[in-house]
């Protein structure tokens, strides 16, 4: 590396604190966004446990349902829901940054990219709810 300042006795090299993500709200928001992935992984584990319980018969599935009603699981899943929704909202809002769509040489505004994402989210959620709850 070029160092045009070698004649100086020294320079001060600040070190980044391990807790840099606590120093500003924007950094904390970033870390929370990344941490949402842990709750995404938890949701997968929960789904796998549910499939296993379903496969093991009605008695085991009823036990699984009871387990879901325990306070610890309810709190954990409420927190998870918050983070998974946080992930969805931040993800759709950031999508226009990575995807540039040009129509007639003009870049589409951010909303034109994120709005269809939010719409797809709503439609798919409604469809899943309908499949599970119909008749």
């Amino acid at each position: 590396m070029i160092n045009p300042t070698e004649y100086l006795p020294k320079s001060y090299h600040p070190r980044v604190s391990t807790y840099w993500w606590l120093t500003r709200w924007v950094y904390l928001k970033f870390i929370l966004r990344e941490a949402s992935s842990v709750f995404v992984a938890w949701t997968v584990i929960l789904t796998l446990l549910q499939i296993r319980a379903l496969a093991a018969g009605p008695a085991r599935y009823a036990e699984f349902q009871d387990w879901l009603r325990s306070p610890l699981l309810l709190v954990l899943n409420a927190v998870s829901l918050f983070f998974v929704v946080f992930h969805a909202v931040t993800w759709f809002n950031l999508a226009p940054k990575a995807m540039v769509v040009r129509v007639g040489g003009r870049r589409l505004p951010n909303l034109a990219i994120s709005a269809p994402n939010f719409a797809a989210w709503a439609v798919l959620s409604a469809a899943i709810a309908w499949i599970l709850m119909r008749g």
């Binding site: 590396m1 100086l8 006795p9 320079s11 924007v26 940054k97 995807m99």
Partner: protein
């Protein structure tokens, strides 16, 4: 509005100090003053040894970047009255070695900037009397990135650069994109070789703060994500067509 405000400024004298400290100064609080005016007031009237960089005073030269109350700012475009009643804390740009007071060593950025080849690359140059035509749409494709003034606020805002000094960083990648998107340029694959390394675009975790602090709305964070998308599509292409994709 009180007519004075306290400014806490980082002081560091490499000949004497082990690490930086803060000095407090009281300066007039005037509606039309920016933080840079306050620093010049200190230098002219209170302590002539205060060292900082500045030049144009109008957000073009990119030399007066500092940390104001924790946030990377061009001090010529940051009004003092926005921080009333104070105190205002002025520190050197983060993530760079400090040479003296508010002056940082920017050599690392200059090395990285050159690595990303921010100039038009042609396989064959046109003769001098022939022009390179460009439509307004082609200009629009890269214009945003060409607004970069190399102020390095994006590096100061980037935690990845702070943690991993090998990361090539926001502005260098945005400027690579400025030339990649230029219809006259043919150097995209040369730049891709350098920027698709681990220390290039893949080091970025999309904190997005580089874009927030950019005084010229360059949006380096967007540039990097778009570059990732391009690199991934190239990768898929090379997978599907192992030969002849170049």
């Amino acid at each position: 509005m009180a007519n004075r405000i306290t400014i806490e400024v980082t002081r560091y004298d490499p000949a004497q100090d082990e690490k930086p400290r803060f000095d407090s100064f009281e300066v007039p609080l005037r509606k039309e003053w920016v933080v840079l005016d306050a620093l010049n007031y200190i230098k002219d009237h209170l302590d002539g040894s205060l060292t900082f960089r500045w030049s144009c005073r109008m957000g073009v030269c990119g030399s007066c970047g500092m940390t104001v109350n924790g946030v990377p700012k061009l001090t010529c475009a940051t009004f003092l009255s926005d921080y009333a009643p104070g105190p205002v804390r002025v520190e050197p740009m983060k993530n760079f070695p400090v040479l003296k007071d508010l002056v940082v060593d920017t050599s690392d950025f200059l090395v990285k900037l050159e690595k990303s080849k921010p100039w038009i690359i042609r396989k064959v140059e046109k003769p001098l009397d022939e022009e390179y035509f460009q439509t307004p749409e082609q200009l629009e494709a890269y214009k945003q990135y060409s607004m970069c003034i190399n102020c390095m606020l994006c590096y100061a805002a980037c935690p990845v650069y702070g943690l991993d000094p090998l990361f090539i960083g926001p502005a260098a990648i945005a400027l690579a994109q400025r030339y990649n998107m230029d219809s006259r340029d043919e150097g995209a694959s040369e730049r891709m070789d350098i920027l698709s390394q681990h220390d290039g675009i893949w080091g970025c975790t999309f904190v997005g703060e580089c874009t927030q602090v950019c005084p010229k709305h360059v949006d380096p964070a967007g540039a990097i994500q778009q570059y990732k998308l391009t690199a991934t599509m190239e990768w898929v292409k090379a997978l599907v067509l192992p030969r002849g994709s170049e």
